[in-house]
Symmetry: C2
Subunit: 298 residues, 2 copies
């Protein structure tokens, strides 16, 4: 089997398990409040790669843990990702009307509900992190809480998004572009990998290996996203091609051109693979995932 078949076989049961857990965690049945749970489910249960939960699970497995053991935190990471997309799509931010071929949350439910659904997903994520204590020692839960909250805030997602917005329409340095991406998307990818590892009892040396892996993986994903935004078909993207360019977004392709961006992605791929060497076969899914990061078509 090539890596694609291995990865497919690996992902199918785990994505299904994450989807079941997400649906259960978001199953509110009280009559009040109206609309909010529906908007949250619309945002979080739509089709998606479940990349962050999968990374959390794969990292746990790479150090001897398993999916059941990290499921609340894995789902929390997906909810934080979903929250960030809901807010990023809003008119004052990216003003996106389509995501994965579907109307965005604010188009479907209105702006006020989209702001609140994002907030409520974010809150729910931290509720799930607290529920992780049913499976893990509380010291580890607190450690992952700090890691994930930091990755979502000023020194992570929110900070990266602010710089992304402030850089629109400007020519920026590679250094500033790297700030944007290590913060906007890289930080939560790193937190996903490390949270899984920490909850499964990774040693400091294992954590250092996975830290290096996660940084290279985040870069490989982001550069490839930028390339796909230029070169994929609208059907593959689920949104218009070249939308980043149209909006004068800072991207690797804008700064380096598609060819050189591709070289950077390959370099990140090599760095991720090399980082994993000490971990042996249990880390194979993490290896397939970084290959997927640069080989995917959407």
């Amino acid at each position: 089997m090539d890596w694609r078949a291995h990865l497919q076989e690996y992902l199918a049961p785990r994505v299904a398990q994450v989807n079941r857990a997400l649906a259960a965690f978001l199953a509110y049945d009280a009559p009040l409040p109206r609309q909010l749970p529906e908007a949250m489910r619309y945002a979080a249960l739509a089709s998606g790669k479940r990349l962050r939960p999968i990374l959390c699970i794969a990292a746990a497995e790479a150090v001897g843990g398993n999916a059941d053991q990290v499921m609340p935190t894995a789902c929390a990471l997906e909810l934080i990702h979903a929250f960030s997309l809901v807010h990023d799509d809003l008119p004052p931010m990216d003003n996106d009307r389509l995501r994965r071929g579907q109307p965005t949350v604010w188009v479907q439910f209105g702006e006020a509900m989209a702001i609140l659904a994002g907030d409520a997903l974010f809150a729910k994520a931290f509720e799930l992190i607290a529920e992780q204590a049913q499976y893990s020692p509380p010291e580890r839960v607190v450690q992952t809480l700090h890691l994930i909250a930091t990755a979502a805030g000023v020194h992570g997602m929110c900070g990266g998004q602010v710089e992304d917005i402030l850089s629109e329409g400007q020519t920026i340095s590679l250094e500033r572009l790297q700030f944007i991406h290590t913060h906007k998307t890289g930080a939560l990818i790193r937190a996903s990998v490390l949270a899984g590892a920490i909850l499964a009892g990774a040693t400091p040396a294992q954590q250092a290996v996975l830290d290096a892996y996660s940084r290279a993986l985040g870069l490989a994903f982001q550069i490839t996203d930028d390339i796909l935004n230029e070169t994929a078909s609208p059907e593959q993207l689920g949104k218009p091609v070249g939308s980043d360019r149209a909006r004068k977004k800072a991207t690797y392709t804008a700064l380096l051109g598609v060819e050189q961006a591709r070289q950077h992605a390959l370099q990140a791929h090599r760095a991720a693979q090399e980082a994993l060497q000490p971990l042996g076969e249990a880390a194979n899914p993490l290896r397939w995932l970084v290959t997927y990061a640069i080989e995917r078509t959407h």
Copy 2:
């Protein structure tokens, strides 16, 4: 001394301590991201009662703890409150241009920055809850994390705000009004009191007492807010008088009239005082606070 003098003497050093801690927690000095830390500080360090941190501290003291012991969590509660105000003020929500006599965050920094500053304050709150583990056993930190995250989400602040928005312009039942307020503001007040108590090692019996107190206190505050929105001067309010009525908000005064609303506030005051009976003199600040809740002029 009457309760006012006692409360003043109690509050002064503690509010000052909370303000110093908030400023220190929000002192970001990296060059990137731009604007975001400034917007966060604008939102969170503006003058305010610091009610939630004070409740957290007073509850800790009522069961034998102290302010130092709960400071990260006390500040986290203020950041969650600040985050909710920033988002509530946005144009698609309450569309408020003034708060405490100052331009709201979106007026000052733009809507995108206001959304992100709110998100980043929320993230920072959970970072601080994790940092609480420097002072408290991790089991207690995880317990307060669950309590606070729940109070902020669907079954708390966000859920209450959604129902508040959906009820604008409608005549609603007292029951639905109570849902709105126990969720929109009551849940975080309750979480503030209980978090302080739990971190300071309150017994289950003490927690039950403080739970009852916090529910009555939240009600006393909310009803009085509604009354002040009708009867205070614009200088006292820092915003136009009757703004809730102008916007056809569901309020206690709209539903019951000012006089009957006042009776309900007095009843909540009595319930809060009675709940505290088992706690003795250490709970005096909590007693002064509920009297303040119904006697204040802004």
